[in-house]
Symmetry: C2
Subunit: 216 residues, 2 copies
């Protein structure tokens, strides 16, 4: 099970290999974070115990507490790492597009594609990141806030004459909520529609309405 770091027997090994029972902190932290991301992704936040993570890494529980403070802290660390990756993927796709319409489509595709590429990691954010209590929930909200802001910016660029900030917020929340839900829905299908088809349908559904925002 502990494929990464086989436990070293306490009885002293042969006397020349350094054996490095103690690794440097950064490496251990990464090791713990990797395991946590995987296990959280598999069993969810609630279904994961710190003891399990510790066992998988081949380390004792207090060490994890020393590095990450709490279960929430560890979860939050997983989340931050994923968040950066995800936001990068989508932003890059959006910025590379020649116009607003294609930017939106590209953003959608990137979003769904990322999901397909990192299914388990992703469920950390979407499936379980929705807890409303605790610091973890706050972090999940920050992830969402990032995307809402990204979407709102795009909407403003696309419909410059719209000054009703409240409407823009409604639209941005709508799109963010829709993509999130579609993401979850797709993961549960054995044969989900392709990222492209999903993105195109969403685009078709929203684009006309977005264009009309400026002249109501």
């Amino acid at each position: 099970m502990t494929s990464t770091t086989p436990p070293i027997p306490p009885g002293a090994p042969s006397g020349d290999a350094p054996v490095r029972r103690k690794r440097d902190r950064a490496a251990r932290e990464r090791e713990i974070l990797d395991a946590a991301e995987r296990i959280f992704g598999d069993h969810g936040y609630q279904g994961t115990s710190m003891d399990e993570i510790a066992a998988q890494v081949g380390v004792s529980k207090p060490l994890i507490y020393q590095y990450y403070g709490s279960k929430d802290g560890l979860f939050l660390a997983c989340l931050s790492r994923l968040r950066a990756k995800l936001l990068d993927a989508v932003s890059e796709a959006v910025l590379a597009a020649p116009d607003a319409e294609q930017a939106m489509y590209a953003g959608f595709v990137a979003w769904f594609q990322f999901l397909d590429d990192h299914p388990r990691s992703w469920s950390v954010i979407v499936d379980e990141g929705m807890l409303s209590a605790g610091p973890a929930a706050q972090a999940a909200d920050e992830v969402r806030a990032d995307f809402v802001e990204l979407i709102a910016t795009m909407v403003r660029l696309n419909a410059p004459s719209t000054t009703d900030e409240e409407e823009i917020q409604i639209v941005a929340q709508t799109i963010s909520g829709a993509t999130e839900r579609l993401a979850i829905w797709r993961t549960r299908l054995e044969l989900p529609p392709s990222p492209e088809k999903t993105a195109r349908t969403l685009q078709d559904l929203l684009w006309q309405g977005l264009a009309n925002l400026q002249q109501p």
Copy 2:
């Protein structure tokens, strides 16, 4: 604190008032369910302990387990009751409308209005009902499935020539996800946009795209 049923001192009371230390089962079940709904709504699923509910009702914990089986079971019972109320409210609004466009708008308004009227109850479903693990999550999924089906039906009626069931599912998931997210978002604002404005903006955003579904 236990305002509803003050604990009766074990020392035998005066000998004529019946005192009914034991109530009949149905009444107790309702009492427990009411308290659970309130406390789950206040502190969330995780933040609520069975001991707390038992204390509020003025009853011992095993009694609750006898009636509801588990924490999940109790939560699920709360959810079912709310789900019926909510689905009724929205369905009624939809069915009372003269045409598809107004039906959709009325459905949105009913949805957001219900939220405003039952804020705490609602957070049981939306804020915490999203756990992906356990039977509670399955129940939350059923709530969503009901609405997705309702929306899908409306879409089919509105765009009869569309035969691509996959596209209809995408659209229904989109709308369901959007309304759910908007619901959560609104509860967190001190001065949210009115149900009507939220519904109208959403309607404006989606209606044109829906109409185009039939002739792509």
